[in-house]
Amino acid sequence: MIDEICRESLNYAIKQGADEAEIYVYRGNIKTIRIEGERVYPSIKDVFNVAVRVSIGKKVGSIFTSTVSSDILKVEIDKAISLAKGREEDPHWSGLPDPAKPIHKNRSFDDRFLSIELDDMAKENLNVINSVKNEHPDLNPFEAANEVVIWERWIFNSRGVEAYDRGTTEEFFLSIKGKDAHREISMYDYEMSTNYIDNKLGISLNLANRIKGLYNAEKLREPLRCSIVFHPKTIAEILYFVFTRAITANNVQEGRSPLVGKIDTRIGGSELTIIDNGMLPNGLMTTLYDAEGVPREKTLVVSKGTLCSFIYDTYTARRENRESTGNAVRAGGSVTVGHSNLIIAGSNISVSKLISSVDKGIYVEGFSLNPHSSNFITGEINAVLYDVHLIRRGSIEKPLFPLNLSGNIYDAFKELQVAGKPVQTPYSIYSPYILLHNLTVV
């Protein structure tokens, strides 16, 4: 049915005067449980996201709508054509992607999601919360959310692309509040997976224990310029805001990246290797095709500290007479560039060895507060670190109050060290533990 709607829409767009046309349809069935205190709020949604991109010569127009109703779609396609006609030519536009077969078969689809019912989800989440309360009666798990999504995606264009993908995702979020003699401590954990998350209780109890590990924390007495050992989740979150957008070709081409002109130059220490892999088995962003129907690929971005490549969609790739790396993402009706599964290479050394190499520094494990205020254009990091511990003479000495982190990611990359294998994080960044130097905490 959706196939037919896509083909009819493309025919309609061409008939109305478009030289090329593309339609993107996402259909999701979303089951959600939100728990606030004792209250459970379940919901079920059927969601459509529909985007149409048309071109007339080098003029491009795009629209987005939430319905596949053919009457509304025709109105919106007319609008996309009108938008294209009303704008000036884009000299860099070289057309929509050409058809190509996927180069892997790693669809991230867990069949178990087909039989998950809302009342089972409610029971499971309440059991998790009650188990935390039973084991830690002094803690308050005050907010939780659990969402499962079964999705399908169609991307058709007038050059013959007919790309279909489907997948599943589950998200689990929990906030817990504790209180020591001096202060209240709230912390959350968040997991995302393409498979059913079967260790929700383990995640929750680990969070509870981490909160208790912060009891009787002390304040850092003075600003410290130091080395910091980051948990994979912590560093992934920071890199998401300060680094991932710097490697997208659109930001590079528009001068919005500090990495402009730095291909084949060193941007970090020899332990820094980063790969964008859209084909990673069970990867959060693993699909057969990217968001404009180009097969997913694997791209070496940084090799042993040397910047090797940026990531591209078709538009930015053709601007440089090269091939897309399969990194198109959708932002409403627009197509832009985004990472797929960004993997930072790990090492065989252990995190304890990494910590033992630090004379005076910090170990941090929590998600940060305010990491989005970091600036990817300059590489400046701003964030408040939670779940922070002081390292002295190679050992974790005591918990600290949250610390304000600042510094420049590229300065910090210079002497980076990694430990352990890359771990999946909700930002679709797979990171080992990372030790960075020359950062300031206060």
Binding site: E36, G37, E38, R39, V40, Y41, P42, S43, I44, K45, D46, V47, F48, S62, I63, F64, T65, S66, T67, S69, A80, L83, G86, R87, E88, D90, L118, D119, M121, A122, L126, N140, F142, E143, A145, E147, S175, K177, E184, S186, P223, R225, E254, G255, R256, G332, G333, L369, N370, S373, N375, I377, T378, N382, V384, N404, S406, G407, T440, V442
Partner: protein, 476 residues
């Protein structure tokens, strides 16, 4: 007619045994234009159409949504909502309100953005770009703006969000709200002596398109001189300082750190430290904080009715330093034996209404800007918020893009990338002066996130002077 569809869905839900049925229809358009480095990068339009259904069945609450307007799909969605209610564990009540009927429109709109052709708006964007990138004019402004800087990157953005929200429920509420929010934003990256600086400006609110353009031109060089000044700025000295916050930063305190703690759902879960504070002195007596759907100040986000079809009220969260009120939906008001305040908002039909803020701001004091500079001789002046987050225990961290180091009543040098950190309940006691004008940042370029939903909010206030605030910066 859509309203007939909604009424029939209400009847269907009642016939299925629901005690309460609420149908919320949404048809909202998001227009956007992006002009990047002198080239039209994006012109687009997004339309969200669909229906959200909330029911109380067997005293339990369920929600579902559909993007289809077919009667058969809508009936299926009511069935899903009943199924969701059956999965809930809690009996709920919603506070009584008098059913509301009628149509609400954003006032004083002579030229609606939908009545202006995209091609004309593109011409406006191009003209704004031409002015905004005029280095000669921009270098005449600011305190430390270098004369010969270059612009490395420029982005002009236009956005308009408008449409209809209809709420029909089984109690007789039948409300149509024609909403409107529009804005322009300028973002500039300048280079001076090999150092980059970024500056930005956003103007917007629920306003007529002509008014928006007029407001934009009043400030068209601001992002540019700010970016250049930032290129010569230093990190602030870390440590405790007297901080002078300009309205954008003041608004972050009002919204992010205090406003969220006053939301009824957080009071209900016991996660807010304000739970037992009503009537207590929690701030210096010059502090009053308001949340209002239809504030007197311009610009603002005009929200006369909420997503439950409840007329919005002005709520004093703090009045003269005393904690005086919370924000409520019908659900939280019922649980806490309070009155609904019209604070139930949903991002769109796909989401259940949650307790959300509207326009949240500190009330004005009586200090002029010059009086503040001359009286408080040394401190950190912060402007242009880059966002922030706050924990429900009152801990916050906010980023200011730029500011000045004040010494001897004069700006000594510009500063950049300032982090402010503290606890709002301590900070409010340390407010020692408030400026004599209020500005509410209402531009639609950044929204407040909660429970997986993003809604546009206004936030602001006057200049505030706060003693003993922890400032983070680079320790070079």
């Amino acid at each position: 007619m859509v309203i007939d569809l909604c009424i029939k869905a209400v009847e269907y839900g009642l016939n299925k045994g629901c005690k309460f049925v609420e149908i919320r229809y949404e048809n909202t358009v998001y227009e956007h234009i992006q002009y990047l480095n002198g080239r039209l990068k994006e012109v687009g339009s997004e339309r969200y159409v669909g229906i959200g259904v909330r029911v109380i069945f067997d005293s339990k609450l369920g929600f579902s949504s559909t993007d289809s307007l077919l009667p058969s799909d809508l009936r299926k969605t009511v069935d899903y909502a009943i199924k969701a209610a059956k999965a809930s564990n809690m009996e709920v009540k919603i506070a009584d309100v008098k059913p509301l009927t009628g149509t609400f429109k954003t006032p004083n709109v002579k030229l609606h953005p939908q009545d202006k052709e995209f091609s004309e708006k593109i011409m406006d964007v191009k003209d704004i770009f031409k002015h905004a990138t005029d280095v000669d004019e921009a270098s005449k402004l600011g305190y430390f703006t270098p004369k010969k800087f270059t612009i490395k990157n420029s982005t002009i953005r236009y956005t308009a969000i408008y449409g209809d929200q209809i709420v029909v429920n089984s109690e007789g509420t039948n409300v149509v709200f024609n909403h409107l929010l529009t804005g322009y934003a300028i973002s500039i990256v300048a280079e001076y002596n090999g150092i980059l600086g970024d500056g930005r400006l956003s103007i917007g609110g629920s306003m007529d398109y002509s008014k928006l353009i007029n407001e934009m031109y009043k400030h068209v060089y601001d992002a540019t001189w700010k970016s250049a000044e930032k290129a010569v700025a230093k990190p602030p000295p870390p440590g405790k300082h007297l901080v002078i916050s300009y309205p954008e930063i003041t608004g972050l305190f009002a919204h992010e750190s205090f406003g969220h703690m006053s939301e009824g759902d957080f009071i209900l879960t016991g996660s807010s430290p304000l739970k037992d504070k009503i009537g207590s002195q929690i701030a210096s007596d010059i502090v009053s904080i308001v949340d209002d759907g239809t504030p007197e100040y311009f610009p603002n986000i005009y929200l006369p009715v909420d997503s439950e079809g409840v007329k919005t009220k002005k709520v004093y969260l703090v009045k003269d330093g005393i904690d005086t009120g919370f924000l409520h939906s019908r659900l939280t008001a019922s649980e806490l034996n309070d009155e609904p305040t019209g604070n139930a908002r949903a991002e769109n039909h796909r989401h259940i209404p949650l307790v959300r803020m509207r326009n949240t701001f500190f009330e004005r004091g009586d200090w002029s800007e010059e009086e503040i500079k001359s009286e408080f001789k040394r401190g950190i002046v912060v402007d242009d918020g880059l966002g922030g987050q706050a924990e429900l225990d009152g801990t916050f961290t906010f980023s200011a893009s730029r500011g000045y180091y004040l010494e001897g009543g004069e700006y000594k040098y510009p500063i950049r990338d300032v982090i402010l950190q503290g606890n709002i309940l301590e900070m409010l006691k340390n407010v020692v002066a408030a400026g004599n004008y209020v500005y509410i940042d209402s531009a639609p370029f950044g929204a407040c996130g909660k429970g997986g939903q993003r809604v546009y909010v206004g936030l602001g206030g006057p200049i505030l002077v706060i003693k003993d605030m922890l400032v983070g910066g680079r320790h070079d």
